[in-house]
Symmetry: C2
C-alpha cells in the first residue's frame, strides 16, 4: 500500500511544526493548506528556527494549496485531514469545522467511497468534535472518523512563513469516541506517521476526554484570566491583590473544571492544579486568548469555556468562577466581533442589529 | 463679614462647572487651581458649552493659581477648599488628599488660627475622608472640618479649557460626621454659597453615608464592569451572554453593596437598583473608570471598591461579585501603574521591584 496522504489545514505555529514533524518522519505524502503565506511558501519556502530541527531554510511540504477548495480538487484522497486552525464556532462561518472539512469529505467520497477518512482536530477545548458530527453526519459521507489531538508545543509564527519553534512538539492522539475501533486503529496509525524519532514525542491517548479536561485546567482558568486583564501570566499573578490571582481566580476556576469533569465520571487529579499554577508563575508567557485580544482577533471562547459550562448546566454543577469569567469574556468577544465587522450595534436604539 | 473665600482644586468637568455655579451665584470670592490649562485660562479664559449657562466664552474665576503651593502662598484665608480631583490613594503621592490639603491648612492656620476651614470632597466612593483625617489630625491645624459633596452632573473636559456641560449640576452637601455641629453648619452655609438659583440644584444632605452607599450602587457595579470590558454601558449590557450582564454582574454587585451598607445599619432601598440599571441601559455613556482605562490613567478603584470591601470584611459580609470585580481590577490598576511608571516589574525574576 502507498504512503498515507495527509493534509494539514492551518499554517500557524502548531500547523507548521506538525507538518515539519510528519515530513521529517517520512511516512506520508504531506500537503498543506497555506492561506496568507501561500505565494511566499511557494517561492521561498518556510524559515523555521527550531529547537529540534535546527535552522530550517526554504522548507516546503510535498504539496501546497491556497485553500481548502483547491486542495479538495487536487484529485488526491486525503487519509488524514489535520486541522490546526483555531476552533471558533461563533466566528466567521467560513472558518468553522464543518465548512473546512466538507469539501474534503465530498471529494474523498467521490474518489473512493470505501476508504476511511480521518479528521484530526489538533485544537483546544472540549466537545469540539460535536459540531462536525452533527452537521456532517458520518453516514452521509464515507463513515469518516474524528480523532483528537492534544498538542503541547512552543512555536509561534513571527513573520511571513517564518516560525520560531522553542519547545519540543508533544502530541497525544486518540479517538473522541472510545468505543469506535476504526477510529482507535486510525489514531494508532497516525501516531506512527507522526513519530519523528528523537525530534518529537507522540503517544496514543486512550483517554481523550480526560486529557482534554486536564488541559482545560490551564486554558479555562489561566488563558481566560490573562485575556481579561491583557497581561502575560507572571504579571497577571503578581499584579493581583495579595495572592488573589492564584487563590481567588486560578484555583477556584480549576476546581470548577475538576467538578464538571467529575460530573462525567472523569477524575482530574489535584496535583495537576498545582502543576499548572506553578509552571506558569515564573515563565514569561502570554497565552493564546490574551494574544487574540491584543491582536483584535476572536478568542476560542466557546470551546474553552462555553462548552464546559454547557456540560456543567446539564449536570447541575455550580461553577461560580468560570461563569463569571465567561460572562466577562462573552462581552469582550462581542466587542471583538464588532471590531471585526461580524456584529453591528445601533447606538440610537442601544441594541444589536440582527 | 466679607464674602467667603472658596478655592476649587481640580479643573475637570466637575470642577469647572462647580466653579461656574459658585461664580454665578455671586456669594463668594472664587479661586481655582488650574494645572495643565493654566496659561490658556489666564490668556483666553474658559469655553463652556453649557445646558444651563449657555455659550460661555472667556470666563475666568476671580483668581487662578498654577498649583496648590501657589494658591496657599496667596495670603488669602480659604474658608472652603473644594476638591474635585479624582481620589486615588494608591496613585502618585502628590495627588493624594493629605498632600493637596496640607499647604492650605498650614497657611490658613498662620493667617487666622481661630477661623474655621472646611474641606469639601466632591468625589466618589466611601470612607474617602479617613485618609485625610488620620494623616492631618484636625487638632493639629485649626480644627478643620471635612464636608461630603455628592455631585451628579453631565460635564466633560473636551479640550484645553473647554468644557461640555450637558446635564444640570446637582449637589448634595453634608458633614461626613453627622454629630459635628460646626461641620453641619458649614455645609449649610456652603449650600447657600453654591446655590445659583434656577441654574443648578443644591441640597443639604443629612445622611451623607447613605447617599454615598446609594451612589456606589452605580459605581461599584456598572462603572467597574465597563472598565473591565472597555465598553460603554449599553454595549456592556447588550454584548453579554443572554441577560447576564444585568442578572449575573450588575444586580449581584449591587446587592453586595446593599448588604455591606446594611451591615452598618444603612438601608438602601431595592428600587434604586432597578433605577440605576434601567437608566443606564438605553443611554450611551462611558463611565469614568472605563474612560480612565481607555486613557491609560489610574482608576478610583480603592474608594469605589477597596474601601467597601474593607467594611465588608470587618463586618463579615460575603461579597462574591464585588470581590471578583476587585480582583480583576486590581490587576488592571497595576497594569496602568506600570504603564505610568509607578510600578516596575522584573521579567527575569517575574516579580515586582519594591
Amino acid at each position: 500500500m502507498s504512503k498515507a496522504n495527509v493534509v494539514v489545514v492551518g499554517a500557524g505555529g502548531v500547523g507548521v511544526v506538525s507538518s515539519l514533524s510528519m515530513y521529517h518522519a517520512g511516512k506520508c505524502e504531506l500537503s498543506m493548506v497555506v492561506r496568507s503565506d501561500y505565494d511566499h511558501v511557494l517561492s521561498e519556502g518556510y524559515t523555521i528556527d527550531s529547537c529540534d530541527y535546527g535552522e530550517v531554510r526554504g522548507w516546503r511540504p510535498h504539496n501546497v494549496y491556497r485553500d481548502v477548495e483547491e486542495a479538495s480538487k487536487s484529485g488526491k484522497f486525503f487519509d488524514y485531514i489535520v486541522i490546526t486552525t483555531k476552533n471558533i464556532p461563533d466566528g466567521p462561518r467560513s472558518s468553522t469545522m464543518p465548512v473546512l472539512c466538507k469539501p474534503f469529505l465530498e471529494s474523498n467520497s467521490n474518489i473512493d467511497p470505501d476508504r476511511l477518512t480521518s479528521i484530526v482536530l489538533i485544537q483546544n477545548g472540549i466537545d469540539i468534535e460535536k459540531e462536525l458530527i452533527t452537521t456532517l453526519k458520518p453516514e452521509d459521507y464515507n463513515n469518516y472518523v474524528v480523532l483528537s489531538g492534544v498538542e503541547i508545543v512552543g512555536s509561534t509564527k513571527v513573520g511571513k512563513a517564518h516560525i520560531k519553534h522553542v519547545g519540543t512538539d508533544n502530541l497525544s492522539i486518540g479517538a473522541f469516541d472510545p468505543d469506535d475501533k476504526r477510529a482507535i486503529e486510525s489514531a494508532k496509525k497516525f501516531a506512527v506517521i507522526y513519530d519523528a524519532g528523537d525530534k518529537n514525542h507522540v503517544e496514543f491517548d486512550e483517554r481523550v476526554r480526560y486529557s482534554r479536561w486536564k488541559k482545560l485546567l490551564y486554558n479555562a482558568a489561566i488563558n481566560t484570566t490573562t485575556a481579561i486583564v491583557g497581561l502575560d501570566v507572571p504579571r497577571t499573578i503578581e499584579f493581583g491583590y495579595e495572592d488573589h490571582t492564584k487563590s481567588a481566580l486560578f484555583l477556584p476556576a480549576m476546581h470548577d473544571i475538576v467538578n464538571i469533569a467529575a460530573s462525567e465520571g472523569i477524575v482530574i487529579e489535584e496535583k495537576f492544579i498545582d502543576f499548572f499554577v506553578n509552571i506558569s508563575a515564573k515563565r514569561m508567557f502570554t497565552p493564546s486568548m490574551c494574544v487574540d485580544v491584543q491582536k483584535g482577533q476572536l478568542m476560542e471562547l466557546e470551546v474553552i469555556l462555553g462548552n464546559p459550562l454547557k456540560v456543567a448546566k446539564q449536570n447541575g454543577v455550580e461553577t461560580p468562577t468560570l461563569t463569571f469569567l465567561y460572562n466577562i469574556l462573552t462581552i469582550i468577544q462581542n466587542k471583538l466581533k464588532e471590531q471585526n465587522g461580524l456584529l453591528k450595534f445601533d447606538e440610537k436604539t442601544c441594541s444589536i442589529i440582527h
